[in-house]
Amino acid sequence: MISAEEVRKIASLARLNVDSDDLSRLSRELGTILDYIKQIEAVDTGEAQPMSHVHGIVNVFREDNVTPSLDSEELLKNAPDYCGRFIRVPLIVE
């Protein structure tokens, strides 16, 4: 079960709008899914450690060498809005 309010809050954290029309459907769907995944609460995990890397590898490094960058002109052209060499967005208000 998840309230519409909570759905809105979580969606907002992820920068997603939810239409009022969609809100009840989404709450229902999410509620069903959340109830389903809650099953794991019943599992006795005992001493099990959380698994982040399936093969347990450690210490993967690279050396401190400079490698050539991509063509920044090319990349800037792909920016939805740019100004000179800067990527442009609406004013950030602190």
Partner: protein, 486 residues
């Protein structure tokens, strides 16, 4: 209800140190400062689909070095975590940082303020990537994003809330800076942004153990700003508490122009960064052998160098303090000493003449036009009495301008001090001949005319005669003449 109690400040600092590696922490783009905007771009820096991070080993080395220098425990097992928030200068929508398992913990740093030493606890040190930069253009109502800085390695150093005064806070930062520069891991310049600081401050009644409500202060761009901001904040919070009201937990920005702190615009729902271990980066297993290896070649720290300068080189504590302010000064001193083997002279020349000249020219020692070995040779010339101390000062000036060696300059200008007795004697006799009246007076008993004679001889020698010899010879001649008169 007014509060008549005395309050003490409880201050903790969060410092960020930008590391001086050649490439970024998770990719090979350059970390060079001052380039054109968006010059050092690669898939990871841009947060392109499909990009993956690979950890720069040197960053881990530097983290361990700092951890050792700050007496920390180096965690055998640590991980990277993703810290999520949305901001235009954060390309992936998350920052790769460390959360529950930072690489270093539980250390301490000794600081000295007005002669007193205090030990400040270090809670943790962790590695993370820097974000890009935003420039705000009010005219066009837009912000401009430059991602060169995104991905540059940072070490975040969190202190325990052990600091009690703004002066201590500044001293802590300065010591941290000094250590970072001695280790060679960072430029640690606040004005360039390679050392940044946020402060947390709360007040509590003296004797109280519980912490009061704390405020965070951001935008502290210099040591001065840190002190002033904390001073203002202490006054502000004290006024509130004394009037019986509670302090509100806020994040403040320091306004350097007006010297005040003011609350930042309320941020979105209290930051839920949704930390979780980064699945793209395997964990770190730091073995004892690696730590020992780093410990072996760890550069000497300021305290150690200071002690050496006093005990081995015989400098005063004060002199050692001045010289160790920067590792570059000490390195320069060692080089001068290597040539002239006179620690005291080397120290004096560096701290007075050299520092003076650097200050006037607005240079730092890395750009000093006088190579250390030249200064060493100059000192040797003075000791060998080839030139006088006074003459050496003008030779130094010439060295500064021309970057030529002292020997070259002395030779070119014919400044070699005259020490040959025969030559000086000739000059003395020349002066005696040219000043018969004074000579007679002197011989008759007026010793006050000694200085006059010395002056005349020095003038005749164009200032180049060895003063000691001049003195000796004049006195000898006068004595001879006086004896002859009997």
């Amino acid at each position: 209800m007014k509060d008549g109690r005395e309050y003490e400040a409880v201050i903790g600092l969060e410092a960020h140190l930008q590391l001086a590696t050649s490439s970024k922490i998770f990719c090979g783009s350059s970390t060079k400062f001052g380039a054109e905007p968006n010059m050092f771009i690669d898939p990871l820096t841009l947060g392109l689909p499909g990009c993956l991070p690979v950890l720069n080993r040197r960053v881990v080395e530097y983290a361990i070095m700092l951890g050792l220098a700050l007496n920390c425990e180096i965690r055998p097992f640590s991980r990277f975590a993703r810290k999520h928030y949305f901001y235009p200068d954060l390309p992936k929508g998350y920052q790769i940082s460390q959360h529950e398992e930072p690489i270093c913990e539980r250390g301490h740093l000794d600081i000295s303020v007005e002669g007193a030493t205090r030990t400040i606890g270090i809670k943790r040190i962790h590695m993370e990537e820097d974000a890009g930069k935003n420039i705000h253009d009010l005219r066009s109502s837009s912000s401009l994003v430059d991602l060169n800085r995104a991905g540059i390695p940072l070490l975040e150093i969190v202190s325990e809330p052990d600091l009690r005064t703004p002066a201590e806070a500044a001293a802590y930062l300065k010591t941290l800076r000094q250590i970072a520069r001695y280790l060679g891991i960072s430029q640690a310049l606040m004005e360039e942004g390679s050392l940044r600081c946020d402060a947390n401050i709360s007040l509590r009644p003296v004797g109280e153990l519980k912490f009061g409500v704390r405020c965070e202060i951001k935008n502290l761009n210099s040591f001065k700003f840190v002190e002033r901001a904390l001073e203002f904040e202490i006054a502000r919070q004290r006024a509130i508490l004394k009037s019986g009201r509670p302090v509100a937990q806020e994040t403040m920005l320091f306004d350097g122009v007006n010297g005040i702190t003011r609350p930042m615009r309320a941020k979105e729902e209290s930051n839920d960064y949704r930390y979780f271990p980064d699945p793209d980066l395997p964990p770190l297993l730091v073995e004892e052998s690696w730590i020992e290896e780093i410990r072996r070649w760890l550069p000497k720290l300021p305290e150690q160098v200071k002690q050496e300068l006093c005990q081995v080189y015989g400098l005063s504590a004060y002199d050692a303090e001045v010289l160790t302010a920067e590792k570059a000064y000490v390195d320069y001193f060692y080089s001068v000493f290597d040539v002239c083997s006179n620690a005291k002279a080397a120290c004096n020349w560096i701290t007075s003449e050299l520092f003076g000249a650097l200050k006037r020219a607005g240079l730092n020692i890395e750009r000093c036009p006088v190579p250390a070995r030249h200064l060493g040779e100059l000192i040797k010339l003075v000791e060998a009495e080839v030139i006088s101390g006074k003459m050496a000062k003008s030779v130094f000036t010439e060295m500064w301008i021309s970057s030529r060696s002292p020997q070259e300059i002395v030779k070119a200008k014919g400044l070699v001090q005259i020490t040959d007795e025969a030559v000086i004697l000739k000059l003395v006799q020349q002066v005696f001949n040219e000043n018969p009246a004074q000579l007679t007076e002197y011989v008759d008993g007026n010793d006050g005319l000694h200085g006059y004679m010395v002056g005349k001889v020095m003038k005749a020698a164009k200032g180049n005669a060895n003063p000691k010899k001049v003195n000796e010879l004049i006195k000898r001649e006068i004595a001879r003449l006086r004896g002859a008169n009997r």
